[in-house]
């Protein structure tokens, strides 16, 4: 990895270079919540003044840009009994993602394993993923962040460059040739010993700041052992089955497919909509049998998929510990509390 140091004014110049030809998605302040705290969202920006690189977290992850909530998988032209299917990957240009935190970058890496690395790579995702230019940025842990417990508090790959704020300048990790080439357009310098020390100090300070924790020791086994545990029923009674957690989650990729016919009966569409395993008809089969009718079984399934099934398949959890689901949950269910209760402990 190549390290450089970039002055903060130079980053503005760098932003303007990029935004001349490319769409840039970055964190902006999108409103104020009821406690008067700012809300942030990933939106397309062309003015650096709107970008808030010191944002806490966003309500929604950036996934709507590479896993849109609704997406056409294919369109059909229908002509009597015959039809023609056209597949468009819905990606016609590269996009710059500025200011993703380590958890969101790790979320992308996890999604890659399922959507790109399996027997059947998903071209709709691949097209968008391969056309991302990602500039990560260091963060300050929030009270609900438990990414350190999930091992995703640092991003090792999956980005082009990563910025860490060290006073009036950024410590830059450069991972891709593209990033290196683009940085030629602005003034950077090699880091000095003092920059390195400052970087290390900031990182170790960050590590001290985590308040929320999840004990993942032997979690796959414990989840298996506690499959019949009464705590699932308790959480199930609290859960509303609304699917908000999946909507805000950076790694939830489950979906449903629906086909619709145009009113003139000459065209049809096959649309993929992101779904949530907490929604009642998630596992209902034709004929009406529902394999997970109880809310508690659906909530349990969500935890099993994230913390057990994915670990078995890829040796890492599907949860990145961003804490968004707990923050957005209308019933106030958080991952650290649920996992602790399964372990028979208070969170």
């Amino acid at each position: 990895m190549i390290f450089r140091v970039l002055d903060k004014e130079e980053l503005v110049k760098f932003f303007n270079h990029l935004s001349a030809n490319n769409a840039i998605i970055g964190p902006v302040e999108s409103g104020i919540d009821r406690k008067g705290k700012p809300l942030y969202a990933f939106e397309q920006v062309s003015d650096f003044a709107r970008v808030r690189l010191d944002y806490t977290t966003t309500k929604l992850s950036a996934k709507r840009y590479f896993l849109p909530f609704k997406e056409d998988l294919a369109v059909f032209k229908i002509d009597g009994d015959d039809w023609h299917k056209t597949i468009d990957f819905n990606c016609d240009k590269a996009t710059v993602f500025l200011g993703l935190h380590a958890c969101d970058i790790n979320a992308l890496n996890k999604l890659d394993k399922v959507l790109l690395g399996s027997v059947y790579p998903m071209p709709h995702y691949a097209a968008k993923r391969k056309n991302m230019f990602i500039i990560g940025v260091g963060c300050r842990p929030q009270p609900f962040c438990f990414c350190r417990s999930m091992g995703s508090d640092t991003a090792l790959h999956g980005f082009d460059m990563f910025l860490t704020d060290i006073g009036n300048r950024y410590f830059v990790e450069i991972l891709s040739a593209d990033a290196y080439n683009f940085l030629q357009g602005v003034k950077t310098r090699a880091p000095e010993e003092s920059d390195n020390l400052l970087y290390m100090k900031i990182v170790s300070e960050k590590n001290q700041m985590f308040a929320a924790r999840v004990d993942t020791t032997d979690l796959t086994k414990i989840l298996d052992m506690e499959f019949q545990s009464p705590v699932w029923k308790q959480w199930g009674d609290k859960c509303l089955g609304c699917g908000t957690c999946a909507n805000v989650c950076p790694t939830c990729y489950c979906y449903g497919v629906e086909e619709t016919v145009n009113v003139n009966l000459r065209a049809a569409k096959k649309t993929k909509t992101l779904y949530s395993c907490n929604v009642i008809d998630f596992a209902e089969v034709a004929g009406g049998h529902n394999f997970r009718l109880e809310r508690s079984t659906r909530l349990k399934y969500r935890y099993y998929h994230k913390h057990r099934g994915f670990v078995e398949a890829y040796e890492e959890s599907l949860c990145v510990g961003c804490g968004r689901c707990g923050e957005s949950c209308l019933a106030g269910i958080t991952v650290p509390e649920v996992i602790a209760s399964v372990r028979g402990k208070e969170a």
């Binding site: 294919a74 959507l115 059947y120 391969k130 145009n262 034709a286």
Partner: protein, 298 residues
């Protein structure tokens, strides 16, 4: 800047083109025959239109395809025909939802889309030299017909073969025209219904009763060398596999085919997950040991 055209990219080093194409690649197919089996089930014979695609399309007993009618929907169906008949595939479909109701009104010549084949299959070749119990409850005979056809075509490779089939009423019996043929090929066929009508002369009771009758006279040497394939609703697996376990058939020699909702068939949509295993990738065919280890499978 970094724009990569995925179509060009596909021929490059990252992906093989057919892998990418597989995702939404649909074989345009024609329904060549619809035959009525019962009031609710039809057998559809389907032929892939493109000759080269048809030649390349092959499957193993137990695998499924995704059948799509543009604008109506797409759903998984187990293949009911013999793996050796390469011209057409046959799907036995019950009217149960939007797509299947639409299909029940379909006629010859309609174009549908086929994706697949997907999933695991019954390990027929590993069963060579063994006695086979083929057990189906209700619509379970649809996926079981493919391994039955395989056994029938390779009859000399197998020892005793018994088909045990149970339904609720005699009017729900599927593939009645094939029973004599199966018997002729020295496959024992035992049929049982839960509720007889006035014409029914056969056995009455649950499928476990028929199974117990079949295995009653068998000795330890038979049990030792027996594999079983079980298709049907979860309650059938549970009781049938319990009986088989009790008489000493090892769990890893019993195979079941699970049914789940699926929207992709390729391990993406998560709709078919049992516990956290994809039925479409690791299944639909599982040995009973694996099923026992899957949470909430049956």
């Amino acid at each position: 800047m970094k724009y990569v055209d995925i179509q060009k990219h596909a021929q490059g080093r990252h992906f093989r083109k057919h892998d990418l194409g597989m995702y939404e690649y649909t074989y345009k197919s024609e329904i060549t025959r619809v035959s009525r089996l019962t009031d609710t089930e039809n057998l559809y014979r389907i032929r892939i239109i493109d000759q080269n695609d048809r030649k390349r399309f092959s499957f193993n007993p137990g695998q499924f395809v995704m059948l799509e009618v543009p604008g109506i929907g797409e759903a998984p169906f187990g293949i009911s025909s013999s793996p050796s008949s390469r011209e057409d595939i046959e799907l036995c479909i019950r009217k149960a939802g939007n797509l299947t109701n639409y299909l029940s009104r379909a006629s010859r010549g309609m174009h549908v889309g086929i994706r697949g084949p997907f999933g695991t299959s019954f390990p027929m070749e590993n069963m060579h030299g063994q006695n086979i119990l083929l057990i189906a409850g209700g619509l379970g005979l649809a996926p079981l017909r493919s391994p039955i056809a395989y056994v029938q075509e390779n009859r000399t490779h197998f020892g005793h073969v018994d088909i045990i089939y149970g339904t609720k009423t005699p009017s729900q019996l599927l593939f009645t025209y094939q029973y004599d043929m199966w018997r002729r090929d020295e496959m024992g066929l035992s049929i049982i219904v839960e509720k007889a009508d006035h014409l029914w002369k056969g056995q009455v009771g649950l499928i476990t009763k028929a199974l117990e009758a079949v295995i009653a006279g068998k000795d330890a040497a038979y049990i030792h060398n027996t594999s079983a394939i079980v298709c049907g609703p979860p309650v059938v697996f549970k009781f049938v596999c319990n009986i088989l376990s009790e008489i000493g058939v090892p769990m890893q020699k019993m195979f079941v085919s699970l049914e789940r909702r699926m929207h992709c068939g390729m391990g993406k949509c998560c709709r078919c997950n049992v516990g956290s295993t994809y039925t479409c990738l690791s299944g639909p065919v599982f040995d009973y040991w694996t099923v026992m280890n899957l949470k909430e499978a049956i």
